[in-house]
């Protein structure tokens, strides 16, 4: 059974369709890149999967059960600018939030939760910044804090919205390492991604999206010149064929 199945999802804003009949099914332990032009509905897809915005139609199944029953198995890494980094809290505290689902409602974090949060900070190379106020961190460091928080959540499926945007080379490397580690641990990871040139290096599967699913499947066979042209409406002229077909 595939861990993540999206079945005929349709989403509309003010009667304008932004996602139309989106279906795909992701096998376990795969890294999936979600690729498409601005306004293609990539972030909307994630938000609708997580019920932040209502679906007009369609279902999301997590290990065979509706998402609503399996929330705890799905971790979400939002875009970095979706929160206020001036919030009075430090890096460790933010990572600790990843444990809240395990701790349970109205209970206090235990010592082991703090230890797990510290380990997760260490994994993304942020342990020295544990007590640093989050506004004092660079963009890349903030992104790594978000990733550590996702790790601390210990989910089976991760949805990451543009984790590579505006980060430094060191962070990009750290993210790639982390994605591969998650993969070897059998986690399934979906990543909204912008940079077409790195798709082949990073992802096992791609979902080419432009309001509808243009193509979905193994990167090798799916990330082709024709599919990309269809996704971007024939606007990808600056890319040489070598980048894409490799």
């Amino acid at each position: 059974m595939n861990p993540l199945v999206v079945d005929q999802m349709t989403v509309a804003y003010d009667r304008q369709l932004v996602l139309e009949d989106v279906s795909f099914s992701v096998p376990e332990g795969k890294l999936v890149g979600i690729i498409g032009p601005n306004g293609a509905g990539k972030s909307t897809l994630m938000k609708a999967m997580l019920n932040f915005i209502p679906r007009m139609h369609g279902n999301v199944f997590v290990y065979g059960q509706p998402y609503e029953k399996q929330r705890h198995l799905v971790g979400y890494v939002p875009q970095r600018n979706s929160v206020d980094w001036d919030f009075p809290t430090n890096a460790l505290d933010v990572v600790l939030m990843g444990r809240y689902g395990h701790i349970g409602l109205w209970k206090r974090p235990r010592k082991e939760d703090v230890e797990i949060a510290m380990q997760c900070l260490d994994k993304v190379g942020m342990l020295p910044y544990a007590k640093r106020q989050i506004s004092q961190l660079s963009g890349g460091q903030q992104q790594r804090v978000f990733l550590a928080r996702a790790l601390a959540q210990d989910a089976s499926i991760y949805l990451m919205d543009e984790p590579f945007v505006g980060v430094d080379a060191a962070t990009e490397k750290a993210i790639i390492q982390l994605l591969n580690e998650l993969k070897t641990r059998g986690k399934t990871v979906l990543v909204v991604h912008h940079d077409l040139q790195t798709v082949r290096d990073y992802f096992d599967y791609v979902l080419l999206l432009n309001k509808r699913v243009i193509a979905f499947g193994e990167t090798e066979r799916t990330f082709t010149y024709d599919h990309i042209q269809n996704t971007y409406g024939g606007k990808v002229t600056f890319l040489s064929a070598t980048h894409i077909v490799g």
């Binding site: 971790g75 979706s82 206020d84 009075p88 809290t89 939030m97 689902g101 106020q133």
Partner: protein, 289 residues
């Protein structure tokens, strides 16, 4: 106990209550909602009088709570229907407040409540309106009411600290973790309504906004931790109350006015000298020492 101590105690309790609740409003960028609720609870108070024919603590609290939550709900509803959120706030609270004003004028001859009192409050009268048990006075009603609301506020903040924190910082993340974000929002609005109505008699509908927002905005400049910010905000509220009262008696001016002015003074001083976010510090950082 003497007159002065009761007034100081009242002002202190207002400062602590408003400081605690206000911290979450500032962090959630909902400062204007406190303006809305502080006005619309007037309708709750009048409504409570129409039902119970008295201006007593409990019925007033219930009335304010209901209208406060109604305000929150209507603002949310209009916003969902496509009205800008600031316009939604403006429409809802002015309407509810206006209904309250009309009703007050309707019952003006029978009820000890006037619009000026509702807007400005009069803390100087607080010590005369005492609660009596078995014929003995046990202190002003306002103090008991504020103490009761403070117990509720502290209980909720201690009990739901991590839930309040995550839903204020990253509500989407909170939803995915199964935290009842909407419930927490309404609980907070309930706390705001109770705090407002309990502080009403003392500082009135306009000045309570100052007590809710200014100490919290000041505390935000001084600290990098939520727990410290809560304590700091409550402390600044108390400090402003004491300075305001002392200033008001010295110059023989409005006590609630002087308290609100004090919050403003503390804020502007902090804006310059606060260690981490103050302007002086920022300039010193820019120019190489």
């Amino acid at each position: 106990m003497s007159y002065t101590i009761w007034i100081l105690l009242t002002a202190t309790l207002v400062g602590i209550n408003c400081g605690l609740v206000g911290t979450f409003l500032v962090l959630r960028k909902m400062s204007m909602l406190s303006d809305a609720i502080s006005h619309s609870v007037l309708l709750g108070i009048v409504g409570a009088y129409m039902v119970s024919h008295q201006l007593q603590g409990v019925s007033m609290l219930i009335g304010a709570l209901l209208v406060g939550l109604l305000t929150t709900f209507l603002v949310q509803l209009l916003h969902q229907k496509g009205v800008q959120s600031d316009a939604a706030i403006g429409v809802v609270f002015t309407c509810l407040f206006a209904i309250g004003v009309v009703l007050i004028s309707l019952f003006a001859d029978r009820v000890h409540l006037d619009v000026e009192h509702a807007l400005m409050g009069e803390i100087a009268f607080v010590p005369w309106d005492v609660l009596e048990v078995g014929g003995r006075s046990i202190g002003p009603k306002a103090v008991w009411l504020l103490g009761f609301v403070l117990a509720i506020n502290i209980f909720v903040i201690v009990f739901a600290y991590k839930e309040l924190k995550i839903s204020s910082f990253d509500s989407e993340m909170a939803i995915t973790l199964g935290i009842p974000v909407v419930l927490i929002h309404y609980v907070l609005m309930g706390m705001l309504s109770l705090t407002t109505v309990a502080s009403f008699d003392s500082v009135g509908a306009i000045l309570v906004v100052a007590m809710l927002i200014v100490p919290s905005a000041t505390a935000y400049l001084w600290t990098d931790r939520l727990s410290t910010m809560l304590i700091c905000s409550a402390f600044i509220g108390v400090l402003a109350s004491v300075i305001g009262y002392v200033g008001a008696t010295a110059f023989n001016v409005s006590i609630s006015g002087a308290i609100a002015v004090s919050t403003g003074v503390i804020f502007f001083v902090s804006l310059w000298i606060a260690p981490k976010h103050g302007l002086l510090r920022k300039w010193m950082k820019k120019s190489p020492a």
